[in-house]
């Protein structure tokens, strides 16, 4: 699983349902999927309450990002985004304040301290390489790479590389076993006919990521939303994800 904030509630609902029924889970994650994987690894099946508390914590910069992901359809958001990005800033939000918050929260803990088996995947831009992070990587560095989702945050420089989450390219990570079950909210997103150049670029960008996702998941079992959700950011999306996972597990019996 990967995605960005749009699937935050829905994909969490899917994961919780599956985790309740499957004793051992190996997770392959990218971007928000990695944040979810991290909290699952730390708190087990009841991870979502802790994850929500973390996101909506007063000083967490991600709290603002999650409420501002709608660039499409909002000319005001587009104009302010263009002003920020066109005047020398590399991203819409300041990565330093995110890093400071994460360092205060996670300290120097590394991925080796985690209980569950999670493969955190990122993409290195200079070598054009998909990389699974080493256990010695600090949680803070992992999250800075996984949250470096354009245009919200710029690439994260780490040990000479320039990292972004793989899900920017394909919604999901690109390295997973043949029997993996794919969880993805993003293929259900819809974009009406573009009204301007920004929306044309956003829609073509989405179409390309969707095509990559379809290429990667050909022949795999996938759990995707079956209906259009009115609001991504509330518990109804979480419950819909749970139902979808239950239906999938029932059908597999």
């Amino acid at each position: 699983m990967g995605g960005f904030f749009e699937g935050f509630y829905w994909e969490s609902g899917v994961l919780e349902s599956i985790a309740k029924k499957e004793k051992v889970l190996n997770l392959y994650t990218s971007s928000l999927g990695s944040l979810r994987g991290l909290f699952y690894s730390m708190y087990g099946v009841n991870f979502f309450g802790r994850l929500k508390d973390f996101i909506y914590e007063k000083n967490n910069p991600l709290r603002e990002v999650i409420t501002n992901t709608e660039l499409y359809n909002s000319r005001y958001a587009q104009t302010t985004a263009l002003i920020r990005l066109g005047r020398g800033k590399m991203s819409l939000y300041n990565p330093d304040s995110l890093k400071k918050f994460l360092e205060d929260y996670f300290g120097d803990q590394t991925l080796s301290s985690l209980e569950a088996n999670v493969s955190f995947e990122v993409f290195e831009l200079k070598k054009r390489e998909v990389i699974i992070l080493e256990n010695e990587t600090r949680i803070v560095d992992m999250l800075m790479m996984e949250l470096a989702f354009p245009p919200y945050y710029s690439y994260y420089e780490f040990q000479g590389g320039f990292f972004i989450p793989t899900s920017y390219i394909s919604f999901i990570p690109q390295k997973f076993p043949k029997d993996a079950v794919i969880i993805s909210f993003d293929p259900a997103l819809t974009y009406p006919y573009p009204k301007n150049t920004v929306e044309i670029l956003l829609k073509t960008s989405y179409s390309r990521t969707l095509k990559n996702y379809r290429l990667l998941t050909e022949g795999f079992n996938t759990i995707e939303p079956q209906k259009q959700l009115k609001d991504y950011f509330n518990m109804s999306a979480f419950f819909d994800g749970q139902n979808q996972a239950n239906n999938f597990l029932e059908a597999k019996k």
């Binding site: 320039f162 301007n196 044309i200």
Partner: protein, 264 residues
């Protein structure tokens, strides 16, 4: 054996397609299917119409004759002050009239059915978000649609669709060449860019450049279906139309070095 060539997207780098076609002529390979995406459509359509024509001379003369006009258009494209409002208020940075005039000289009113080699062109429908395969109708319409770079040129309304650059979803149209009957496909990939520096002017430059990283999966999916693949290492950007000769010559040298490797 039915030979097909699949010519990929990549703007000015398309000079490498011309070098490959010249090379295939030297090898006396009888091509029966041509597919093209974006500049691949531009080169492929002319080749399919007149297989014996000297493509190098035609495109060299064209880039020389239109140099002033092309340079002026790309200066407009790179002007941030005038482009900024166009991003929110318009649907493209440039108008496509000058492209239409150039294509008119190349294809006139010829149709796909006038081609001596079977031709297929890919495009992208902005409305459905899907790939579109064009194998009939006027060639100029298909090439216009296939080479309308998103944001740079406006979408072309055709057949109830809003069409944009074929390279959006199909950077090298190998699958279409198979569909049109080719069973030995030679793929020409212009996405093997050599990037010596890793610098971005600002966030806009960064998010536009980073789109290219989505190409790799799509390119690999297509070229894995081809029998012979040429991924040209080109250091010039898609806008570098003034470097037609250099790109062509470098591509010729690259093809020669590949031939020598095969011989060894």
């Amino acid at each position: 054996m039915v030979y097909g060539i699949a010519l990929g997207s990549g703007g000015a780098r398309g000079a490498a397609h011309v070098a490959l076609i010249d090379e295939l002529k030297e090898r006396a390979i009888k091509v029966e299917v041509v597919t093209g995406s974006s500049v691949g459509a531009l080169v492929g359509a002319l080749y399919a119409l007149n297989p014996d024509v000297d493509l190098f001379q035609i495109f060299k003369d064209l880039t020389l004759k239109k140099k002033k006009m092309i340079d002026s258009q790309f200066r407009t494209l790179n002007n941030r002050i005038t482009n900024f409002p166009k991003m929110v208020a318009g649907k493209s940075f440039l108008k496509n009239d000058f492209v239409y005039d150039i294509y008119k000289q190349l294809y006139g009113r010829k149709r796909f059915s006038d081609c001596k080699i079977k031709l297929g062109i890919v495009s992208y429908d902005l409305e459905s978000g899907e790939e579109v395969e064009i194998t009939e109708g006027y060639i100029i319409d298909a090439v216009m649609a296939s080479s309308s770079v998103p944001g740079v040129f406006p979408p072309l309304r055709l057949g109830g669709m809003s069409l944009l650059d074929g390279g959006v979803l199909t950077p090298v149209p190998v699958k279409l060449a198979k569909k049109l009957g080719a069973d030995y496909i030679i793929a020409s990939n212009l996405n093997g860019e050599v990037k010596n520096d890793f610098k971005f002017n600002d966030g806009l430059d960064y998010i536009i450049s980073i789109e290219d990283f989505k190409n790799d999966l799509m390119v690999n999916y297509e070229i894995n279906k081809a029998e012979e693949v040429y991924t040209f290492p080109i250091e010039y950007s898609w806008e570098g139309f003034s470097y037609f000769n250099e790109i062509y010559q470098n591509a010729k040298n690259f093809l020669k070095s590949m031939q020598n490797k095969v011989r060894e």
